[in-house]
Every structure is written in structure tokens, then in C-alpha cells.
Amino acid sequence: MRTTTPTRRRRLGAGALTASAALVLAACGGGMTPEDAAGGGDGESAEFTGEYTGPDIELSYWNGFTGGDGPFMQEMVDQFMAEHDNITIVPNTIQWADFYQRVPAAVNAGEGPDVGVMHLDQLATNAARNVIVPLDAVAEQLELTEDDFSEEVWQAGIYDDQRYGIPLDVHSLAMFYNTEHFAAAGITEPPTDGESFMAALDALQAAGYEQPFWMPARWPGHLMFLTLLQQNGGGAYGEEEATFGGAEGVEALEWMRGMVDEGYSPSDVAQDSQYVAFKNGETSITWDGIWQINDLEESGMPYALAPVPTIFDEEAFWANSHQFFMTKQATQDEDKLAASQVFLAWMSEHSADWAGAGMIPARESVQEEGLAGTAQEPIAALLDKVRFLPAIPGLGQVTTETMEQAVADAVLGQAEAGAALEQGQSQATELMAENAESFGG
């Protein structure tokens, strides 16, 4: 557990001073009362100054940055508190897998976070469950507009005509490759399309790297599938039904299984082992999330990063985005609302630092500053090629239960791609109908 006690105590002391100073000022008639600063309780306040002048306040801030990204987030939070004496951020870091179980339960019990970060593909679900609140007014206050973001990432935070998320970053699938292997195989440029990719695999094999591209059955297998499906002109979900089992999907999944059949990958790659194999230099190429960058940096292995090659026709790749959210716990309390807004605005403005965590800051105005020289820089130019899952409540779970299973079955060779996808798709459609019913009622 991360303890913030010493820092907190210092802040509280300093905060008390500032608060009393503010009170004195207010009493003299020159200052702004907390009410003025915060405006209405529903986020419809008149003016946002970027300052919080109310009494000392604690904001409970939940996120799932448990990996190499954790220290960067903590540093940002510490810096924020150093600059804001009267706001104490109490972070609570939970593994993402548990995060999505605990947040709804905690909010329901009134013990949840005031602000937090969640994945874009969970926003709709939590919005439908009334876990998080609309942030249109907040975004307006913070003067955040589509101009500063790529259209994809800005639009993705909207569910049911309302904005629920303030984008922090974009993180996508990318191609990691072992530069030593590439040099030994005489490959000078990272492959960019299907043809050059296969040529690279053959060259690597010729150079003695027998299995240069391990095909994972589990995570991130379905992210690869989503990428290939969209490159092939398919889409995973329609408004009311799953569509990933069409001809485009089958072709994409057959290509994945083909890597095993053609001997580029060993069979039965268990979870995480393709990544471990890459880290150990046993395999030359892996497609994984850019969040692995820090881990690879630390391991000291020779690697480089390139966009996922366009195996089929369309340039596209899977991505997700971390987005800030607020709960009604924050919006019901004027001071908390004001402080939360200050926090979100500050984090968004300083998101260049967040690039250090291996992510791509969502704001275009800070990208240049944060990304120069980073490993993920080549991906950032392609943000208009990223594909998110549509904002349909419950889709995250549907994907886990159906698409992930189908991909795993086919990659393991336990089912034909077509049959696996067909079953997965019909089950996904059923689950979506069930979800629509429970959220509609």
C-alpha cells in the first residue's frame, strides 16, 4: 500500500494556513466564498478559475495504475498536492480487474471515489449503472473541446449524448521487435504491411529464429483479433448485435491461427508466455500494448516499436483510453466539485508527464512536449487510425465472455475459426439483448 501520511500531514498544515487566509480575505469582502468558487452543485457554475479557495478538502482518487505506470501517476499526484495546499488527494490503486467490480459496489455504498480513471470501454457500462456522472458541464468549465483531441478519442467519451469521460491518454496495440534479431536477419525497416511482415518472418526464420512471432491465445490475442478484423473492413459490434463473426472476422482469425500452422509460432501459447518469450529473446516480434514500454526499458533488452503492420486493406489498430470520471459523491458537494475540477484540469494540462508511463497523452497540445524521443512516438502520429469499442453498456464483459473465448479456442486449434466465431457472436448478441433489457428497465 502506498502511504501518503507524512505528505498529507504537511499539506493539511499548510492548507489550514491558506484556508484561514482565504477566510480573512473573504471577510474583508475582497475574496471569493467557496460557494462562488464552486458555483451550483450540479456543475452548472458560472465561472471556473482553475483555483480552489474553499476549505481544506480530501478527494478520494481511484485508479488501476498498478504496473510501471503507477510511479508516474503518483509523481503527478504529489506534484499536484505540492501546488495545491488545500486539496489532499487520497489515492487508491486497485488492479483493473478488481477495479471494475469494486467501483460500482463502493459508489453504491457511498464509499466510492470522488474522482478516478477508468478505461473508455467501461464508461458506458458505469454510466448506465449510475456509477459515474455526466461531465459536459465540467468539460465546458475546463474549456476542453474536440479541437485539442483526435476526434476518435474525444467522441469515445460520449454515451447517450452526454460526456462521461475526460480523456487522459490513448494506449494502443503496437508491434515490438527485437532489434538484434532484425539486424541478424538483415531487416532494416520494420514491416508495414502483410507482404513485408511475412517477408520479415521468413527472413528471421532463415537467420535461425525458428519461431519469430508467438501467437497468444489469451490477452492480448483478442486485441490482435480486433485490430485485424478492423483492418479487414469489419466491425466488432453493431448497436444491437455482435458482428465480429462475419467473413472479415473469420479471415482475420484464420490468419492468426495460420501463424501456428505455418510454424511461425509454437502451438498452445499460454497466457503471458509470448511476452515472456519476447523479453527473453526467444521470439523476435510481438504485438502488445504500449504500456509494456517501461517494463521492456527496465529489462534492458534491445527492442524497438512500430505501428502494427496493415496485414489486410485498411490501416487501423485497436486502442483504448484512460479517462477521468467523477461520481455523484463529488458533484453533490460544492467544494468537492470545485476541487475535483481543479484536479482534473491540472492533470489534463500536465498530461505530458504522463507520457513517461508509456502512454500517449490525449491532448494534442501537450503531445509534442511529452512524446519527443519516447518509444511510443511513432504511434502518436496515427491517432486517427485507432479503433475503440463502441459505447454500449456491458460490452466489456460481453467481449470477455464471447470474443475472447472464440479467439482462444481458434488459436489453440480446438475449434475452427468460423465455428468458434459463429458461436461467440450469437452468444454475444444474446448477452447484448439481455443487457439492453436490464439497462432499459
Binding site: 471494475y100 467490480q101 460500482p104 459496489a105 453504491n108 449503472r129 449510475n130 456509477v131 508467438w214 491465445a217 489469451r218 509454437p266 502451438s267 498452445d268 501459447v269 499460454a270 497466457q271 503471458d272 508466455s273 515472456v276 518469450a277 527473453n280 526467444e282 456491458g394 464483459q397 470477455t400 465472455e401 473465448q405 482462444a408 479456442d409 489453440l412 480446438q414 475449434a415 452468444q427 444474446e430 448477452l431 439481455e434 436490464s438 439497462f439 428497465g441
Partner: protein, 321 residues
């Protein structure tokens, strides 16, 4: 058996009044509430943490209960009916998970009954370094399931794991997909579980073995019984009460298996190794269908209760003719 008599106020007066009467047992004198006072602390905890959740769970199972949504409509027995209707969504996954639970239980319980007994019998003999070996067998039990699972996930990995590597060195097949194909995944899960929990049963056996009076063995030897006969006619009957206990807790523990398959195989390949508890957690906590999950857990409970009755019947004291 000795009875400790607790003196009560009025006792003496009574005794004086009625002269030399045989002393009565204390409890009856204290009114009917006394035993309840003694039980109260336990009943409070039992009521709060066992009875109340059981009742609430039953109530939840009669609703479409998504705790994040305001509406929790009453659906009667619909959740149960769905579990027995082959056309419903939860049907297939639930019974698959029940089958997985059964496979795991059938695979692991016999091993967890026999192997620890063998270990306990060996540990019960005198040899140098005995305590060290006792510790060695018990040690894995101290580890948490997460540690055990992550450890074995990497050891068992069919492409980069040590298990296949050493099998290969021994000239055995080295390409078994321990975590991504059945039945290898079952062998792996049962093996890991036996390795992990064997020590616990062994310790209980060991304690029971040491409780069997030595005189019985001496008498058996005098009667000319060999080692097997001693085991058969002295050790086994001496272990009987403990055996019922171990069988029951092992069955229940195996039927509640969750962590191993969640962390080692992720329920895979497909959903083959997804156990009932896994499925219940998935439906209740991730899909928020608490009603359906509660119904599943009651069906599982019923199955386990039937099983315990069978076990008790099998181990019942048979009248020696």
C-alpha cells in the same frame, strides 16, 4: 464423565430446607435462559455472518438483482428454472462448470485422502531429520493461492516452462500443453492442488495416528499380525472419525476450487476448467447478475449437501455382528 456442580444462590437454603437430598444438577436451577446466554456471543456471529447472508442470498435468488440498478424486479423461481432449462443462456455454462467441479473433485479427493496418509505414516516413524521433512511437506500449504498459481503457471508453461524442459531431459514427451489443453490441464490443476494442500491433511492424519494407543499395536503383534494386518485392523479403525472429517473438508474444499483455475488456466481451454465457484463469481460480480449467481450457489449447495449425506452414510458405524 464427571459433572462439575455450580453452586447457585439459594442452593444452600434449599439444601437446608429439604435436608439431605441428593444434590441436583446445577443447570436446571438456572432457568431455561442460561444456555442461551452461553451461546449468545456465538449465535450473534453465526446469525450475522451465516444465517443472515443465507436468508438474504435466498431472497436475492428470487430477483433479477443488479445492485447497481434501482430496479430489482421479483422474478420468483425464474433464476432456478433457467438453470434447468436447456434453452436458457446460463444453462450450458453453469452445467459445464458443475461438470468441471465434479471432474476436479473426483480427481483430487482420492489423492488428497491417500497421499497425505502415506506421508503421515512415513512421518510417524522414527528417522533422522523427521521434523525437517514434516516441515517440507507442510510448507506449500502456507503459501497463498496467488503465489502457488503464478509459480506453477510459469513452471507448467508448455513453451517456456521448466516442467516440460525437465521432462524432455528425461526423454519423456516435452510438448504437453499443461495449461491450454485438456486433460493435461486437469492433471496440472489436480497436481498443483495436491502439492499445495497435501500437508494440511497429513498433519491431521499424523495427529490422529499418534492418538492410536500403542497397546493396540502391541496386542496385535502378540496375536501375530503383520504390518499390513496391523494397518488394516488397528490403524484404519483408529482413523475412522478423523477420516470422515478429512473426507468432508477435502470434498468441500475441492468443490469450492476457484483460485487455481482462475489464475493458472483462466478457466481455459475454452471454459473447460471453469469451476462452479468461478462461474458464480463471473456471473455475480462481473455480470452483476446476483440473482442468477445466488440461484447457482444454492444449486451447488444442494449438490454438496446430498454428497455429504452420502459420505456420512458410507462412513457410518457398522454394527459389528
Amino acid at each position: 464423565m464427571t459433572t462439575t456442580r455450580v453452586a447457585a444462590p439459594g442452593d444452600t437454603a434449599d439444601a437446608l430446607q429439604h435436608g439431605r437430598r441428593a444434590p441436583r444438577r446445577g443447570v436446571a436451577k438456572h432457568g431455561k435462559a442460561t444456555p442461551w446466554f452461553f451461546l449468545a456471543p456465538y449465535l450473534l456471529l453465526f446469525g450475522t455472518f451465516v444465517i443472515a447472508p443465507v436468508v438474504l442470498g435466498a431472497w436475492i435468488s428470487l430477483h433479477r438483482w443488479d445492485y447497481t440498478l434501482p430496479g430489482k424486479p421479483f422474478v420468483g423461481l425464474e433464476n432456478y428454472a433457467a438453470l434447468f432449462d436447456p434453452g436458457s443462456i446460463p444453462f450450458e455454462d453453469f452445467w459445464n462448470s458443475m461438470r468441471a467441479t465434479a471432474i476436479f473433485t473426483v480427481g483430487s479427493v482420492p489423492l488428497l485422502l491417500v497421499l497425505p496418509l502415506v506421508v503421515a505414516l512415513v512421518m510417524n516413524t522414527k528417522f533422522p531429520g523427521r521434523n525437517l521433512f514434516r516441515a517440507v511437506y507442510f510448507a506449500p500449504y502456507v503459501l497463498g493461492v496467488a503465489v502457488v498459481a503464478v509459480l506453477w503457471r510459469y513452471l507448467l508453461d508448455n513453451n517456456i516452462g521448466l516442467v516440460n524442459y525437465y521432462l524432455g531431459r528425461l526423454g519423456l514427451p516435452d510438448d504437453t500443453a499443461w495449461t491450454t489443453s485438456t486433460p493435461a490441464a486437469w492433471i496440472a490443476l489436480v497436481g498443483v492442488t495436491v502439492w499445495w494442500t497435501l500437508g494440511y491433511n497429513a498433519v491431521i492424519y499424523l495427529a490422529a495416528l499418534q492418538d492410536i494407543p500403542r497397546e493396540l499395536y502391541e496386542a496385535a503383534r502378540v496375536d501375530g499380525a503383520n504390518a499390513w494386518q496391523q494397518f488394516r485392523h488397528v490403524t484404519v479403525p483408529g482413523l475412522r472419525p478423523v477420516l470422515v472429517f478429512i473426507t468432508m473438508i477435502t470434498i468441500i474444499a475441492s468443490a469450492n476450487m476457484f483460485g487455481q483455475s482462475y489464475l493458472i488456466t483462466q478457466g481455459g481451454p475454452g471454459r473447460e476448467t471453469r469451476t462452479a465457484i468461478y462461474q458464480i463469481a463471473e456471473v455475480g460480480l462481473r455480470q452483476y447478475q446476483m440473482g442468477s449467481a445466488a440461484a447457482m450457489s444454492y444449486v451447488l449447495t444442494a449438490a454438496l449437501m446430498v454428497l455429504s449425506v452420502i459420505v456420512f452414510w458410507l462412513f457410518r458405524e457398522r454394527k459389528s455382528s
